[in-house]
Symmetry: C2
Subunit: 431 residues, 2 copies
């Protein structure tokens, strides 16, 4: 197949007519599919159903130190949950706080506390003149909404396969005291599925921030979320807390994890790992905010998974369900768009998303076009601060929720939309 | 028995010697009991154990609208949970948001959001000159810690059996635009067990606050927590939302409830009820903060309780366990201190606490004395803003957690301590 850019006007018009015929045919079937969020599928949820059996009315509800998990008490998590989540996050259990079901909520609260009370005794962000965050783009929309909500200025940092542009990150963080944080999804990043290289992580750990209250917001959401069992097919991420400690900057990072995509998205465990100094600072807030989180759910997770080896086995079952979906998407994109010169995309080995770049100025139109045929994608621009993709080209594909037959149809709609919008661009003389 | 104030020095010394002998005897037994918090007892927790059976791996995990409770989604609660909690709170289910396990966390977040973003478009509290809260005293220490944490000035308002001094409340709220809130535990109040009278509730609803962003923080923590089944032995509280609406001030109240002392203290449901305008304002925050709360736990509560009648029956089982404990405390206080003129106390018909007033200047000493004999009480002063009881006389008794034999010993220790500290006061020529 020829590149679209090399086609004559006549060839483009012929191609357009054929594609439009097929597109109308699909529209007539009134297909409906919401692919806007990274939701696990029903088959994946079923993998954890037996977690509902591990506690029953005859259970022993005490944690290993004898605390009754049904009652009040224990602000930072029962010891066995800290061990399990510590293993998942590759940190010392004493370097963690276990929260409720939402790591997003922990991040929001961390920003909120910094805004109202300041980090470790520093002036609250709400009382500082300028507060800025670095935002590797494309990135996770819900991160950006938190900083936008608090009126924090967001600065785009380009992403590559090895992570954010570290020259820029160093320039901003080490040079500008109003830069207070950076949002990172360091492994199987949202939406590209990139994993930060060892060099990138070491450069993060070696940062010498101009602001004492600068923190890396390290959202390790997909730490064990591989698509392949073979070790050589799995991405590896250096553990950031240890690197920061080794570099003499133990306090510059907050690390977030959750089991939202391990057990249940609505009813998992979320946790924060950080230096003792940071944890003390945060517990000082937390003790005013709540008496404690749901310890029965902590117990349920610990008794269901038992240990990290079982959790890895469990993740391998998730991968069995997810892998064919990712391969369907990337395989079809390769077959259908590979030679046309109108799109590029990532081929992740883990995580929940595929990032697709169209020709500049086409993403919004592609998303709108797909919606006409009943396929709801993440809004174009969502992966950028303020919802603004400067090149209007990025589309986040979330293949996890649909079944394979649904996904087959959805990908066809997406590809038809990309082709049709691109042809129109060429016909109008763009690119 | 004579009043201590009428005893001669000789009589007081003789009494003291006898009491000290008994006190030393108890100390020698190295009894240990923590009565500092209002924790349900193990027997009470056991009442809800079967809630652990209602969801298992074969369950149907959809809510009544077909939403899978295991997955992401639904910010403000599944409809059946809103109905159940609405019934518990006597409000329209549409006037509620269901949260996670902690109503304290909802209150903290409500204050935090008001501080960072302002209520319904008003200037954020953090950017206003003076922000004040009214604090009926004695009251709930954790309420006061929230406002203290945000640097909000707290003003003591005396409590009586009918509720806070409403003349003062009206003067402050209607006259001072820097007064932004009042902490209320309107039913079976913490620590007195008082219930606001109908007149008090109507006067609350009729408030015409000088500040547009004034809100009543109505913590209805003990709404269905009666000690007696007989209706004539139960306190009645007017429903505040309806009263405020009727008075033309639908927006002046946030109402909080939870099942912490219905199901499990660590794993219950908490909820906020308020006007639609307030709920919209809060959902605007909430949607940035989290994707949603634990819907499986909502489903668990709904399937366990089924309806409000069952929840009342359940509460009656709690009462069976709690009632003898309250009666043991009040009965012993009456028998031992009734004629001595050195203490007064409340005799609640519900809730979790009994409030004891010693002679002025004695509370700290009594708490310290009890600790010597192994009985840990709530710190004296805790029920007042900044931990300062101006008369140093109030002690909160939490009879729920100990077994009856433990409680018998603890009350003996408390009474001995009150007597010994009071005798010392008279011997030193005080009062």
């Amino acid at each position: 197949m020829k590149k679209y850019s090399e086609m004559s006007r006549g060839e483009l018009l012929a191609e357009k007519e054929a594609l439009e015929g097929r597109f109308r045919e699909i529209c007539s079937k009134r297909f409906k599919l919401d692919m806007s969020r990274g939701k696990p599928s029903i088959a994946q949820l079923d993998l954890s159903n037996e977690m509902m059996d591990v506690l029953n009315s005859d259970s022993y509800f005490l944690d290993e130190t004898g605390t009754d998990c049904r009652n009040y008490g224990i602000l930072n998590g029962i010891p066995e949950a800290k061990r399990l989540m510590g293993a998942m996050s590759e940190v010392d259990p004493d370097d963690m706080i276990i929260y409720g079901n939402s790591s997003l909520n922990i991040m929001f609260d961390a920003v909120s506390h910094a805004y109202t009370h300041g980090i470790c005794g520093c002036t609250p962000w709400g009382k500082q003149e300028n507060v800025k965050f670095l935002c590797p783009v494309p990135g996770y929309d819900r991160h950006f909404r938190i900083t936008e909500y608090f009126g924090i200025e967001m600065i785009n940092i380009p992403m590559s396969e090895t992570g954010p542009d570290m020259d820029l990150v160093e320039k901003y963080v080490n040079g500008d005291p109003s830069v207070k944080g950076i949002w990172c999804v360091p492994k199987y990043s949202n939406p590209q599925g990139y994993t930060y290289s060892e060099e990138t992580v070491r450069r993060f750990a070696a940062l010498t921030p101009a602001a004492e209250d600068f923190r890396i917001f390290w959202d390790n959401a997909y730490s064990i979320h591989h698509l392949y069992d073979e070790p050589e097919m799995q991405d590896f991420l250096l553990e950031i807390l240890a690197e920061c400690r080794a570099a003499g900057h133990p306090d510059i990072v907050y690390k977030f994890i959750s089991t939202s995509k391990v057990s249940f998205p609505g009813s998992g465990l979320a946790a924060l790992a950080a230096s003792r100094r940071n944890l003390q600072d945060i517990e000082h807030h937390l003790t005013v905010q709540t008496i404690g989180h749901d310890k029965l759910n902590q117990l349920r997770h610990v008794r269901f998974f038992g240990n990290m080896a079982n959790m890895h086995t469990h993740m391998s079952r998730h991968a069995e369900i997810l892998r064919p979906k990712f391969e369907l998407v990337t395989g079809t994109l390769r077959a259908e768009l590979g030679e046309l010169g109108i799109a590029s995309w990532t081929e992740p080995r883990g995580g929940y998303f595929i990032s697709l770049d169209t020709l500049d100025g086409c993403a919004r139109k592609v998303v709108a076009k797909s919606a006409e045929a009943g396929v709801k994608l993440t809004p174009a621009g969502a992966a950028f601060p303020y919802g603004k993709d400067p090149r209007d080209r990025n589309i986040r594909i979330a293949p996890s929720y649909p079944t394979l037959p649904e996904l087959t149809k959805a990908v066809e709609v997406l590809i038809l939309s990309v082709k049709l919008v691109s042809i129109d661009l060429y016909l109008e003389g763009g690119q």
